[in-house]
Symmetry: C2
Subunit: 218 residues, 2 copies
């Protein structure tokens, strides 16, 4: 017996809930937001909401999946020359949004570590981004932009880890440093990826990146 007879309505309700929940989570955080608040924002009763999401965790899981997809699209159509600029852009936007988004990301991290099944879904969500990064790094190596002796898979993991680590630290412990974070991250990525002949130790003048305005969940 079908739980929902009208798939279109169901899909509409789901996105209605997700949108409401995202707004609430950004305002007050995952654990601080009550289901009642989400219900009010979505304009429906608890009973109705639980018809579409069996738990509060399932809501943040869905949001996180949508975000992974959005992040992947952000770097989907760029060339290897733009890679570092786009990553720095992403980091700067993330830090600028700061308190609005980051706590939710940390909540998702905690949930992901705790729930192995969610971790599997998350890995699947990030896989396309990893593949893309590997492709871009390989391209960059062919062009001579990146160090040809790097193992692309490994370099991709480096890039992921450093971008996430640096931005999270910056949001978590804001200081005067926040202003130069983007420039420092660029220098870091250059030092990691650039051919060894290129001098990248000294601070590097930051080219004004062409800001691509982009609708992102996070």
């Amino acid at each position: 017996v079908a739980r929902t007879a009208n798939p279109l309505l169901a899909e509409q309700r789901r996105s209605q809930i997700l949108e409401a929940a995202l707004t609430c989570f950004q305002k007050r955080g995952f654990h601080q937001t009550s289901m009642q608040e989400i219900c009010a924002a979505a304009g429906m009763s608890p009973g109705a909401l639980y018809r579409y999401f069996p738990s509060k965790t399932d809501i943040i899981t869905a949001i996180s999946a949508a975000d992974a997809q959005a992040r992947c699209q952000t770097i989907a159509k760029i060339s290897s020359e733009e890679l570092i600029d786009r990553l720095v852009d992403y980091a700067e936007r993330f830090v600028a949004k700061g308190k609005k988004f980051a706590p939710m990301i940390a909540d998702i991290m905690a949930e992901t570590i705790r729930d192995p099944e969610l971790a599997i879904r998350m890995r699947a969500g990030y896989a396309p981004m990893h593949t893309l990064l590997v492709k871009l790094i390989t391209q960059g190596q062919a062009r001579g932009t990146f160090d040809a002796s790097l193992e692309p898979e490994r370099a991709a993991r480096w890039v992921f880890g450093t971008v996430d680590g640096v931005t999270m630290r910056c949001v978590m412990l804001p200081s005067a440093y926040t202003r130069v974070m983007g420039e420092e991250l660029r220098a870091l990525l250059l030092r990691l990826l650039a051919p060894r002949g290129v001098a990248v130790a000294a601070p590097i003048a930051k080219p004004k990146p062409s800001r691509v305005p982009r609708k992102e969940t996070v």
Copy 2:
């Protein structure tokens, strides 16, 4: 009027509570642990507990402060030659403990981003570690172990960000990669810090680090 007449008792109660809470948080996570559980583990009533910690958040704050101190001591008495080994050691231990500790760290991150006052305390807690890192990097530069053209302050921030980012990612999305994480992190840190003349792009044979057994909160 003094809130506590017996400072010794108060200190004993506080550590009694912290120890109980740490056990609970590691078992089930911050948000999943109820105050009743902590009370039971600490062997006292809610009223008694709230005498020493005015809120649940204050408990995790205290735990986090103790951890920052422990981490700082971990690298307090080492030379610049050992730096990378110790950092990789730390990362490997953290990943090994995995699900037991990491979710709590993520919870602390979320809380730190949300609460600016907590962020200030956290920055203060990490400051000695940053100072130490700068000192070790400067030493390494003098010895020729590290690239002399690096700005030590910046390099220290790089190291912090990369170690945290790589380890968190590894815990969050465990995979076959977990096995080689330590070796990859070592290569990453070497590429960041080593003099540019040294070839560090290829995988590097991992010297068996002398494991210093160490009692750490996290």
